[in-house]
């Protein structure tokens, strides 16, 4: 029979992204990828396509989605999130001329596969340094959304950063849910309760890697007059959190949007990225934001963070990726 070749006549260059759970509008990971696509549309004069997953779908759906996107002439086709790994493994060999990008995974490899990965642990390490410097109670908190290896990377880096800076500081950690229950990325009231628990125990800096649920943590910390550290994007500038921005000390950024843009650009330029493309502190792929004026005033803290940054880049400090 026929196959789903929507064959939209690929005269115009186009790129596509396929989202992970949450999809567009999650104000986090997926939105960042979308921002990269939009930027590429504007600056590179290409057409951007994006597709959402359905809840609880299987690999077969992802295979179908990627196939359809590749077949209709999109190049590159980017899978947002490690869940796309098995699908890309199946689809990439069938479209050798198309570049496939995958974020957060290096387990599938191929000539036409670009694995975009981030050293989240490095950014988190810096957050740990900042937290250790900012705390007055010698207690800081980490809140992870869902207990998966990726989020544990955040925890590991953070804890190491804290310990290396001030061994006396205690790190409280709490995960909100267990996979495949991804509520821990979506329910702010869980983040709030967890943060409240840590605040009650005396923590005065709370770092969350919990997506939207983290906004609850930020709220709790802010209402209590304590520090919150954001994640993924610079949450100080996030509209939904404007009310609490004064208490958002800093955020660990992860430049998914840049990574997406770079891949599209490389394809457009005829030199498609391939293999592992790692974004660490060195390339500003991850980092620590400094939009909060209060943060800018903490010179001691900034100095410590900058020192740590330099040492990580130079390789003097090796940051662990698992707690």
């Amino acid at each position: 029979g026929k196959t789903s070749d929507s064959g939209s006549g690929s005269k115009e260059a186009s790129a596509a992204i396929a989202y992970d759970i949450g999809g567009r509008g999650d104000q986090s990971f997926n939105d960042a990828a979308y921002a990269g696509l939009v930027k590429a549309e504007k600056e590179l004069d290409i057409k951007g396509n994006d597709q959402e997953p359905s809840e609880g779908e299987s690999d077969a759906d992802k295979v179908q989605r990627l196939t359809e996107l590749a077949r209709s002439g999109n190049n590159p086709v980017i899978g947002v999130g490690f869940a796309y790994a098995p699908a890309i493994k199946k689809v990439a060999p069938k479209f050798p001329k198309t570049t496939f990008g995958i974020i957060d995974d290096t387990s599938v490899t191929g000539k036409n596969i670009a694995n975009m990965v981030f050293n989240e642990e490095q950014g988190s390490y810096l957050a740990g340094v900042a937290a250790a410097k900012a705390t007055k109670t010698n207690k800081v908190g980490f809140i992870g959304g869902v207990e998966v290896p990726l989020i544990k990377k955040f925890e590991a880096g953070f804890a190491q950063g804290v310990k290396d800076t001030n061994p006396k500081v205690q790190v409280l950690k709490q995960y909100l849910t267990q996979p495949p229950n991804f509520d821990g990325f979506a329910k702010p009231d869980l983040g709030k309760a967890a943060a409240q628990g840590q605040l009650d125990k005396g923590a005065d800096v709370i770092y969350h890697a919990a997506g939207l649920a983290g906004s609850g943590s930020i709220e709790a910390a802010a209402l209590d007059g304590k520090w919150a550290i954001g994640v993924d994007s610079d949450q100080y500038n996030q509209e939904g959190l404007a009310k609490y921005k004064a208490r958002i000390l800093t955020s660990v950024t992860k430049d998914v949007s840049g990574a997406v843009f770079n891949l599209i650009k490389s394809v457009k330029d005829g030199k498609p990225q391939s293999g592992e493309v790692r974004y660490g502190l060195d390339k500003d792929g991850v980092g620590l934001s400094d939009s909060n004026p209060e943060y800018k005033k903490m010179t001691d803290l900034i100095a410590a963070v900058d020192k740590a940054r330099a040492e990580i880049i130079s390789g003097k400090i090796k940051v662990q990726t698992a707690p």
């Binding site: 939105d31 207990e147 509520d183 702010p188 409240q196 009650d200 009310k243």
Partner: protein
């Protein structure tokens, strides 16, 4: 001798099956439970077990569940099973947030209730007027609510500043009250970690600290429900529709009307639960925010034997363990192992007293195992911590004798004029 009257003899009189717990007895039970928890707290050092924060967190987590459960109770007391609570709750979050961010939180609450009530109305039309299986209708409403809210978000929140297709802009807060002197005083006492006294202070403190006005409204709805359903003519009629609608009909009660009212109120309460989640607990609408709490509410209602007090207890238990796990679960839940071991020990004594030797032996072994687990470890793996609320509920249900009595005609189709 054929003239003897028989009327007095009839069936051997049985004792009333319903034992009424008097207020002092209830208080005594609560005090006993608290003392036990206090003991465990002292032994394990998990001071968070009855802290102000823990109790107030538990309250916040319990309220949406309790409101949903109350919604379920209204519907089922009138004989309509409402598994659509989840969907009505979703409608509540959406409508509540939609109105809330534009016109203020209280308007949000009102519209959230309306949203849920609309879901309830649909459920009533399908189940009462068309006589469709209640579960089917509920499941359909759950699907529909997800679809409708997500669809609508594309046209509303997506365009709003600070919102997206999955999330609303931030909603203003509802006033929170803290009784100034009292709250601090109680917090101080709790902070001293004395046996029992601190625990009482913690619990009371949790109930007077940072209390959203909507929380108070929600709490008041429980006695209000008891009063309406059990002490008014309206409530009697409503309940009769769930017990024996044909009998009610034969006495001139308009069964359809009461079922409609009950189901719409049920939806409204679920909607309020949703609005609470969006406006008080979170401050935004968030896709998937309800996360099955409607089902948990239903479970709490069954747990509570279709009675408001029991339902509140179920929701409270759930909120309590949920809060425990979120607030440093590894330690708190570890302490719960000890609590459980002690409770099981009490069960053993009870069973021995009742001469049930085999169950006693089983309970004893379980208690010992728990105790060994407790003493050999420092924390519980976070994966199991997550399961704590669910396991606790199951254990409580399994250990307490179950004499569930649901309304007799619950879930049964009813057609006017077709009673036997």
């Amino acid at each position: 001798m054929s003239t003897s009257t028989v009327s007095a003899v009839s069936a051997a009189p049985k004792k009333s099956a319903r034992r009424k717990l008097s207020v002092p007895v209830i208080l005594l039970i609560i005090a006993g439970a608290l003392a036990l928890v206090s003991l465990v707290r002292i032994i394990s050092g998990a001071d968070d077990l009855t802290s102000v924060g823990q109790v107030s967190g538990a309250l916040q987590l319990a309220i949406p569940i309790g409101l949903a459960g109350l919604g379920g109770l209204w519907a089922e007391r009138a004989g309509v099973v409402n598994i659509g609570l989840e969907g009505m709750m979703i409608l509540g979050t959406w409508f509540g947030a939609y109105a809330g961010y534009q016109w203020g939180p209280w308007t949000g609450v009102a519209l959230g209730i309306v949203g849920g009530a609309l879901g309830g109305l649909l459920h009533a039309v399908i189940t009462v007027t068309f006589g469709v299986n209640h579960i089917v209708s509920g499941v359909a409403i759950n699907i529909l609510a997800v679809g409708v809210t997500r669809y609508l978000s594309n046209f509303t929140f997506d365009k709003a500043a600070g919102g997206s297709s999955k999330q609303s802009p931030r909603i203003d807060e509802i006033t929170k009250i803290t009784i100034p002197g009292l709250s601090d005083w109680l917090r101080d006492i709790q902070g001293k970690h004395w046996f029992f006294v601190s625990d009482v202070a913690g619990v009371l403190g949790g109930l007077v600290t940072n209390l959203s006005l909507l929380t108070i409204v929600a709490l008041l709805l429980i006695p209000a429900t008891i009063w309406i359903l059990w002490h008014t003519a309206f409530g009697l009629r409503l309940r009769s529709c769930g017990e024996n609608p044909v009998a009610a009909e034969s006495l001139g009660v308009n069964v359809y009307k009461y079922k409609y009212i009950a189901v719409v109120v049920s939806g409204g309460l679920a909607g309020l639960a949703g609005a609470f989640l969006a406006i008080v607990a979170t401050g935004i609408y968030q896709e998937g925010q309800t996360g099955g709490r409607g089902y948990i509410g239903l479970a709490a209602m069954i747990f509570g034997n279709w009675m408001p007090g029991g339902m509140a207890l179920g929701a409270g238990l759930f909120g309590f363990t949920d809060s425990l796990k979120l607030r440093g679960g590894a330690e708190n839940v570890h302490a719960m192992l000890l609590l459980l071991a002690i409770l099981l020990l009490l069960v053993v004594f009870w069973q021995l007293y009742k001469k049930k030797y085999l169950p006693a032996a089983i309970s004893a072994v379980a208690a010992v195992l728990l105790f060994v687990w407790y003493s050999l470890t420092n924390e519980v793996p976070s994966q199991f911590v997550d399961a704590a609320p669910y396991i606790t509920t199951l254990l409580v249900l399994a250990l307490s004798a179950q004499r569930l009595r649901m309304p007799k005609a619950d879930g049964m189709p009813y057609r006017k004029g077709q009673g036997k």
